[in-house]
């Protein structure tokens, strides 16, 4: 409004300042910068605001329309809440690194949603990966270092794919605009879809999410859950709206994580799976492609950031206070952490789409759109998924963390700043859920009037929820419900964590199977393939050796002879 600066710039400056300041000054920066940034967006005119001529091309660095504006507000809000939640960090938590990385990460996300062309999008796309990985590494454990590495490799790969696809498209059509691409039969469209699909955690491409997010710091995961996948959803909405394939991908995404989430023990990983499930609703909404469904998809992205953030915050608070996060180690915390328990329940209600909570007003929009456009089967899958999410995220998380068997942990309530951050998110969840017409619906990109509070929606949803709850109680009482065990779930990442090295190195190589993480296995794969190459290129290989002068001259003579033959008998 009054600065008209590119939104990412403010946060980048804030991020750099947060890295070098300490104490009260840093706290002030962390809280003021997102607010300033948010105010900056208010009343922003639509259209191109900033271009940049480089290497003979004009790049559109900063372009505004209704959809990017919605994500802009959302990301500032998430930054503010996340910073508030992380405000207590001290130097022993690598606070400079975490704060700085978080702000730069948020800035990159803003840069991506306000990008006016694909090249700029690519730059911020890679920056998202490079900045966010520090929020995982900041945990400081060997496990998080490795997980961070796998995360980084996959995301850089996604960026490389994006750039390749952009170049191919620029070559074929001459356009680098971010507009409808769709699966138009060209090769590059698939590469785009693959690149976005990695970031949006499509089935079989999703493992970076459940692998890396639970390894982030207690506060860092709150940021991680807010930005990366939402940028992917935004990009999909821009380029693949109305693509039928996405409906089915989205439906699959909503359904399959449920099974994993039910048996997973690490509660933040459970949230990771439920996150894929929620993104599934958004992808599905984008695939349906009507004005209402896309509204629903982005509205759900908005709400998801807030309620998933709230859930990650409540689990972060538990991790921060107890140092544990496995369902089997927790339980009975409601006495010592009543406020966090409340926050978790509000988050759980929202994600389960209870009427009057935010998830309801957006999820029902996607589901209604599915019915209006005649996708009955998809609607049933979504219905199943909605019940499933209530089951694992709505009941399981609060039940195992705060109720269930008493784990004997006696702790205190989380620091004040964490409580304030959770409080803000709670209020937002309820306000958006109760008064959608006055809040969220005002900023949706398309004009498609929708009213969530009619008898059909409310009744369907309530019935669904009650039967879901009944199922949980039934299973729990009859003892069929899978107990929380210390175990590792085998998911698709098994193929690159375990199967690849196993095939390459034979059954006997037990060492690799133990150390079967991607970095080591990919490196092992590379080493395996290159063993022969190494003989040629390694320290003493013929290509790398220091040659005696005589043989160098021999090569010259040989080249001369070869060239002569080539030129004279061409």
């Amino acid at each position: 409004m009054w600065i008209d600066a590119p939104p990412f710039l403010l946060l980048f400056i804030g991020g750099l300042l947060a890295g070098v300041t300490r104490g009260v000054v840093r706290k002030a920066i962390l809280l003021v910068v997102p607010v300033l940034g948010g105010l900056n967006l208010i009343g922003m005119q639509e259209g191109v605001h900033l271009t940049w001529d480089v290497a003979g091309y004009t790049l559109t660095v900063f372009e505004v329309d209704r959809m990017s504006l919605l994500f802009g507000y959302l990301f500032h809000l998430a930054t503010f809440i996340g910073n508030m939640f992380a405000l207590h960090l001290g130097e022993e938590d690598r606070a400079s690194m975490q704060h700085s990385a978080a702000m730069l990460y948020a800035g990159s996300a803003l840069g991506a949603v306000f990008a006016g062309d694909l090249i700029v999008l690519f730059v911020f796309w890679e920056m998202l990966a490079l900045t966010s990985v520090f929020l995982i590494w900041a945990r400081g454990t060997e496990r998080s270092y490795r997980a961070g590495f796998r995360y980084l490799i996959i995301h850089v790969l996604s960026g490389v794919l994006l750039l390749s696809a952009t170049l191919m498209r620029a070559h074929e059509t001459g356009s680098i605009d971010i507009d409808q691409i769709g699966l138009n039969g060209s090769f590059y469209a698939w590469i785009f879809l693959l690149s976005f699909g990695i970031k949006a955690a499509f089935p079989l491409l999703h493992n970076w999410l459940t692998d890396a997010y639970p390894e982030g710091t207690a506060t860092g995961t709150v940021f991680l859950s807010a930005f990366t996948t939402k940028v992917a959803v935004y990009s999909l909405a821009r380029t693949f709206a109305g693509e039928d394939l996405l409906i089915y991908i989205g439906a699959a995404m909503t359904a399959f994580p449920i099974f994993y989430a039910v048996i997973e023990n690490d509660l933040r990983r459970v949230l990771g799976y439920s996150m894929i499930n929620q993104i599934g609703f958004m992808v599905c909404g984008i695939g349906i492609g009507s004005a209402m469904s896309i509204n629903g998809a982005v509205a759900h992205a908005f709400n998801d950031v807030i309620f998933k953030g709230l859930l990650f915050m409540s689990m972060g608070a538990v991790l921060h206070q107890t140092g544990r996060i496995n369902g089997s180690d927790l339980g009975g915390l409601y006495k010592s952490m009543p406020f966090t328990t409340g926050a978790c329940i509000v988050g759980a209600s929202s994600i389960s789409a209870f009427p009057l909570f935010s998830g309801f007003v957006s999820k029902s929009m996607v589901m209604s759109a599915a019915i209006y456009e005649g996708h009955e089967v998809v609607w049933l899958v979504l219905l199943f998924a909605a019940a499933g999410v209530f089951h694992h995220a709505g009941i399981k998380i609060p039940f195992f963390a705060f109720y269930g068997h008493d784990s004997g942990i006696r702790t205190t309530e989380a620091p004040k700043n964490m409580l304030i951050a959770m409080g803000i998110a709670m209020v937002l969840n309820v306000v958006i859920g109760t008064f959608p017409q006055q809040t969220l619906y005002l900023i949706l990109p398309f004009d498609a009037p929708y009213s969530p509070y009619d008898a059909t929606h409310v009744l369907t949803q309530t019935q669904l929820l009650f039967f879901g709850a009944l199922a949980f109680v039934g299973l729990q009482k009859t003892g069929i419900y899978p107990p929380e065990l210390r175990s590792t779930n085998i998911d698709v990442e098994w193929s690159y964590r375990k199967l690849g090295p196993w095939v390459v190195n034979g059954v006997g190589s037990a060492a690799l199977a133990i150390d079967g993480y991607v970095r080591s296995s990919v490196m092992a794969l590379v080493h395996g393939v290159l063993a022969a190459v190494n003989r040629a290129h390694g320290q003493v290989g013929p290509l790398a050796r220091s040659w005696p002068a005589g043989s160098m001259v021999f090569w010259v003579a040989l080249s001369l002879a070869a060239y002569l033959l080539f030129y004279l008998y061409r």
């Binding site: 001529d53 480089v54 290497a55 003979g56 690519f122 730059v123 890679e126 490389v160 390749s164 170049l167 191919m168 070559h171 290159l530 190459v533 190494n534 290129h537 390694g538 320290q539 290989g541 290509l543 790398a544 220091s546 040659w547 002068a549 160098m552 001259v553 090569w555 010259v556 080249s559 001369l560 060239y563 002569l564 080539f566 030129y567 004279l568 061409r570």
Partner: protein, 495 residues
């Protein structure tokens, strides 16, 4: 004054070199070298300005017109290369003061700076002369002084490295002079422009076409040997590894670049692109060799334990990128090649200078000796990361600009596969740069082995190059414009 700029660019340093040697004291010689480098820097900038404003400058030495006398012929390509050489020289000399004082024994300091001035002069001479025999003379001036600079390194292996370089360099130079001789026999002229008219005439008359093909062969081998195109790069790794750090930084950024310029001059100006690329099908030779250089040498670099050697192999790979660009034969491809000349000079200069800082404090550039340097020498390692990002081709660095043009040039001709290989090369650069970064930032340094940050006299020149490599990465308009205009001059075939 300004009329005589081309001559002054060469003559003044040429006179300063013996003065530097005669002073006998390294400090005095350093001042002379600084003067020579900055003088040449100023002259070459002025030349570039003039060429951009007025077009090609012809300057007849001693007032003898071209076919008889020697002519300096400065076009955009020459002026651009001269600016690259002098920029690096002007930054290297201040850097050399501290670095060379430690790495070269004091009594040889004056000789070193004399050799440095001569080497720079030789390179500049190659860039601006319009006479092929003169090219050979300057080539020998720059090479001979380069051999002696390498031999001055304290490491005893420097001597054998210099000796090998001497042999290989001399073979290359004699091949070039044989090629020139054969051309002279068939055409009776040595002027570049004259040759470019005479060769088609001779070919049209049908006599001596075989001789010209042989001359072409000798020049190809001689020039690709000088510019270290795979598989004739064998002299380069040792020469770069064991030379004093400042020499490596200077040579890696200039001498192979000037040889690439020579390739452009011979095959585009003297023989003409139609002859080189259509009749002789030079691209059929250059493109596969360039691709092998990019992939094989990047792979070798991954396995190196000595970082200077690692960077040397990476240089051979980067030369592959330049030659790849040129081998497309299109305006866009040659633009990419010329741009990468400049961009690679900046980034490799910065990287080798960072290695010089580490050499100065740690006394070794082996990877295992760099553990924990990220904390102890933060500015040096940050410079290394900056240069490394450029080598990888991350956006906002010069490396990205080069790769962008290169990939565009490949796609323009529908060569998907080549474009993909360029990307693979970048990924390999990620691995070998990361290898160093991982040890420096995540390794733990033995407390007994702790070191201080390098002195400012080394850090400032290093960072000038690092910042330049970001500056021209963010605002590539000037360099891209000059490179495109230069490529326009060279390329005749319009697709």
């Amino acid at each position: 004054m300004s009329q005589n700029l081309p001559a002054l660019l060469i003559v003044v340093p040429l006179l300063l070199a013996p003065i530097a040697a005669l002073t006998g004291r390294w400090k005095a010689a350093w001042v002379v070298a600084l003067g020579a480098a900055w003088w040449a820097f100023g002259c070459s900038l002025a030349l570039l300005q003039r060429v951009r404003a007025e077009g090609v400058i012809h300057y007849s030495l001693g007032g003898w017109p071209a076919p008889t006398g020697i002519e300096y012929r400065v076009d955009l390509v020459s002026a651009f290369v001269a600016v690259i050489v002098t920029t690096i020289a002007a930054i290297s000399v201040p850097y050399a003061r501290t670095s060379i004082a430690q790495e070269v024994s004091e009594d040889r300091g004056a000789l070193f700076y004399a050799a440095f001035i001569l080497s720079m002069t030789g390179l500049l001479g190659i860039a601006i002369t319009g006479d092929v025999f003169n090219v050979f003379v300057f080539l020998e001036i720059s090479s001979l002084s380069a051999y002696s600079m390498i031999a001055l390194g304290r490491d005893r292996r420097a001597l054998t490295a210099a000796y090998q370089y001497l042999i290989m360099g001399s073979v290359g130079a004699s091949f070039i002079v044989i090629g020139i001789g054969l051309l002279y026999v068939t055409t009776g002229t040595l002027g570049m422009e004259d040759l470019s008219h005479r060769i088609p005439e001779v070919m049209a008359q049908g006599r001596g076409s075989r001789t010209i093909a042989v001359a072409f062969t000798f020049l190809t081998v001689g020039v690709t040997l000088k510019l270290a195109l795979f598989p004739l790069h064998l002299w380069l790794p040792n020469a770069y590894t064991y030379a004093p750090s400042a020499v490596t930084a200077f040579m890696a950024s200039t001498s192979t670049k000037v040889s690439v310029y020579l390739l452009l001059r011979f095959f585009f100006t003297v023989f003409g692109e139609t002859f080189s690329f259509v009749e002789m099908r030079l691209n059929m030779v250059l493109m596969p060799l360039a691709l092998v250089a990019i992939l094989a040498m990047s792979l070798v670099a991954i396995y190196q334990e000595n970082v200077k050697r690692l960077l040397a192999f990476s240089s051979v790979a980067q030369i592959g990128y330049m030659i790849l660009g040129i081998s497309f034969g299109s305006v866009l491809g040659v633009t990419a090649g010329i741009l990468h000349l400049f961009n690679h000079a900046l980034m490799k200069g910065a990287l080798f200078m960072a290695m010089g800082c580490i050499m100065y404090r740690v006394g070794s550039v082996r990877i295992d000796r760099m553990a924990g340097l990220g904390k102890q020498m933060p500015w040096t390692m940050a410079a290394f990361v900056g240069g490394g990002l450029s080598l990888i081709g991350v956006p906002l660095t010069v490396g990205f600009v080069s790769k962008w043009y290169l990939v565009q040039a490949a796609l323009e001709q529908g060569r998907w596969f080549v474009a993909a290989l360029v990307m693979v090369g970048s990924l390999m650069a990620v691995i070998y740069i990361w290898k160093v970064v991982e040890v420096a930032y995540f390794g733990r340094r033995d407390p007994e082995d702790s070191v201080e940050e390098a002195p400012l006299s080394l850090l400032i020149p290093t960072w000038v190059l690092v910042i330049a490599s970001f500056w021209f990465g963010i605002d590539a308009s000037t360099t891209a414009e000059v490179a495109t205009a230069a490529a326009d001059l060279l390329v005749e075939i319009v697709p």
